[in-house]
C-alpha cells in the first residue's frame, strides 16, 4: 500500500479538530456599531506561534488619487 503523504499544512490539524486545535487561544469581541445596530466582530487568535491574526470589517480599496472636483 502506498504511504500517505504527511500533512504539511499547519491548519489542517485545526480543521480536523485534533488535539492541536485546542492550543490557540481565541476570543471574539463584539462591539455594537451604533445607530444601525450592526455588530462588528473581531477575531483575534493568539496562536502557539505568538502570531496575531486580525479580521475586520472595512473597505478593501484605498483611494487612488484625490483630485479636486
Amino acid at each position: 500500500m502506498k504511504a500517505k503523504k504527511p500533512e504539511t499544512n499547519p491548519f489542517v490539524p485545526l480543521l480536523k479538530g485534533t488535539k492541536q486545535a485546542a492550543i490557540p487561544l481565541g476570543f471574539y469581541l463584539m462591539r455594537p456599531m451604533g445607530e444601525n445596530g450592526q455588530l462588528d466582530i473581531y477575531l483575534s487568535v493568539k496562536s502557539q506561534f505568538h502570531q496575531t491574526h486580525y479580521y475586520g470589517v472595512g473597505s478593501y480599496y484605498k483611494p487612488i488619487a484625490n483630485i479636486d472636483f
Binding site: R31, Y42, Q51, T52, G58, S59, K62, I64, D68, F69
Partner: protein, 347 residues
C-alpha cells in the same frame, strides 16, 4: 469586589501622537478624537501597566484626569476595563498584499498616443484592482464603452472615470454606468452646475463639476479625504500609502509613479509595465512612509492620509515636494489643494 485594574482600547481604536496634539482614531466607526499627547502616552502605557501602576508612574498627579478620560472612553465604546489584559493584544501593524499593483492612474488626451487595451491587459497581469481613468478630450459614452470593453473580463474591481468633457446627456451617463458596473465614480468636469447623482439603479456615483480637469492634476488633501481603514492604517506604518503598488501612465504614454512626478520610467509603447514595476528605482519611493518624511512625521494624520506628492532626499532627509493644506505645527488648514512646497512657510 475590586474593579478590573487594566484598561484596553478596542484593537481598532489607536492613538497617534503629533507635534501639537494626538488623535485617537476609531478605524471601525471611521471617526477620530483630538486628545492631548500626554493622554496618548498614558493609553500607550495601558498595554504594559495596570491603571494603579500608571497613576503611580505619574506620582498621582493625574489620577482624576485618568479616571475621567478612561470612563469617557468606556462610555463612547472606545475601550473597556479588564483583568485579563494578555487576552487583548495590540493589533499587528504588519502589512502585505498579494497584488503586485493595487491601483493605477491612466491619463488619455489623444487615443492615438498609446493603446489603452494593451495597458489594461498589462494592468490585469499585475493584478491591478482599482483604476482611475482620466480622459482629457471631449468623448462620447459610446467611445468610453469601447475603451472600457477590455476591462469587463479583467480583474479590475473598481474604475473611477474622470472626463474633462462628456459629450452625452444624463441618460447616456446612466447607461454607461449600467453597462460598466465596475465604474464606482464618474466625474464630468466643465459642467454648468454642480450635481451629485446617486440612484439605487447602480452602485456608483455620478458627479457634475464646474471645475476643469487639468493635465496631471495634483492631489487634494482635506479631512474629507482621510481614509479610516485598518489595512491602509497598517500599510502606512511601513509604506508610502499613495505610491506603494501604484503605476501611472500620463497623457503622452510615459510611465511614472504618479502623473505629476517629473521622473518617467519609459514609454508604454516600448516598455512593459511588469518590467518597470520590478525596477528598484521605481519601487524606491514605495518604501518611504510618513514616519520618515519631514513634517509628515510630526502630523497626527500621517496614517490616514493619502498624498501622491513626489519625494526628495535632501541632506539624508526625505521631503515631499508638494505641501498639503495642513500645517501640523499650527493645527491649521491653509487650503484644500496641494501646493508646491517652495511656496509654503514652515518647511
Amino acid at each position: 469586589m475590586q474593579p478590573p485594574s487594566y484598561f484596553r482600547l478596542f484593537s481598532a481604536c489607536i492613538p497617534v501622537q503629533g507635534v501639537l496634539h494626538a488623535l485617537l482614531f476609531d478605524l471601525e466607526r471611521k471617526s477620530f478624537y483630538k486628545i492631548p499627547n500626554l493622554l496618548a502616552e498614558i493609553l500607550d502605557k495601558t498595554h504594559q501597566q495596570s491603571i494603579p501602576e500608571i497613576k503611580a508612574h505619574y506620582e498621582h498627579q493625574y489620577d482624576e484626569g485618568i479616571d475621567t478620560f478612561l470612563k469617557e472612553f468606556e462610555s463612547k465604546e472606545l475601550g473597556f476595563y479588564t483583568d485579563e489584559p494578555e487576552a487583548f493584544p495590540k493589533l499587528d501593524m504588519y502589512w502585505d498584499d498579494p497584488l503586485d499593483i493595487q491601483t493605477a492612474v491612466v491619463e488619455m488626451e489623444n487615443t492615438d498616443a498609446y493603446n489603452l487595451e494593451n495597458v489594461l491587459q498589462q494592468l490585469d497581469d499585475l493584478g491591478c484592482a482599482a483604476l482611475q481613468l482620466r480622459l482629457l478630450s471631449p468623448i462620447t459614452a459610446q467611445q468610453i464603452n469601447t475603451l472600457l470593453k477590455p476591462s469587463q473580463e479583467s480583474r479590475l474591481r473598481q474604475i473611477e472615470l474622470l472626463v474633462a468633457q462628456f459629450k452625452g446627456d444624463a441618460k447616456a451617463a446612466v447607461d454607461l454606468m449600467h453597462s460598466n458596473r465596475r465604474i464606482s465614480l464618474f466625474v464630468q468636469f466643465n459642467k454648468e452646475q454642480k450635481q451629485l447623482i446617486e440612484t439605487s439603479d447602480f452602485v456608483g456615483t455620478i458627479v457634475h463639476s464646474t471645475k476643469a480637469l487639468p493635465k496631471a492634476a495634483s492631489d487634494c488633501v482635506s479631512p474629507n479625504n482621510f481614509t479610516f481603514d485598518v489595512k491602509l492604517f497598517s500599510e502606512a506604518h511601513s509604506y508610502n500609502t499613495a505610491l506603494n503598488r501604484k503605476v501611472c501612465i500620463d497623457a503622452e504614454g510615459y510611465i511614472r509613479n504618479y502623473l505629476s512626478h517629473p521622473k518617467a520610467y519609459g514609454h508604454i509603447s516600448n516598455k512593459q509595465l511588469t518590467e518597470v514595476v520590478q525596477m528598484e528605482s521605481f519601487r524606491e519611493k514605495w518604501l518611504v512612509h510618513n514616519d520618515q518624511i519631514e513634517i509628515c512625521k510630526d502630523c497626527p494624520y500621517r496614517y490616514v492620509c493619502l498624498f501622491n506628492s513626489d519625494l526628495q532626499l535632501k541632506n539624508h532627509k526625505w521631503h515631499k515636494t508638494e505641501r498639503c493644506g495642513y500645517d501640523p505645527y499650527t493645527d491649521q488648514w491653509q487650503t484644500t489643494a496641494s501646493t508646491p512646497a517652495t511656496n509654503q512657510p514652515n518647511q
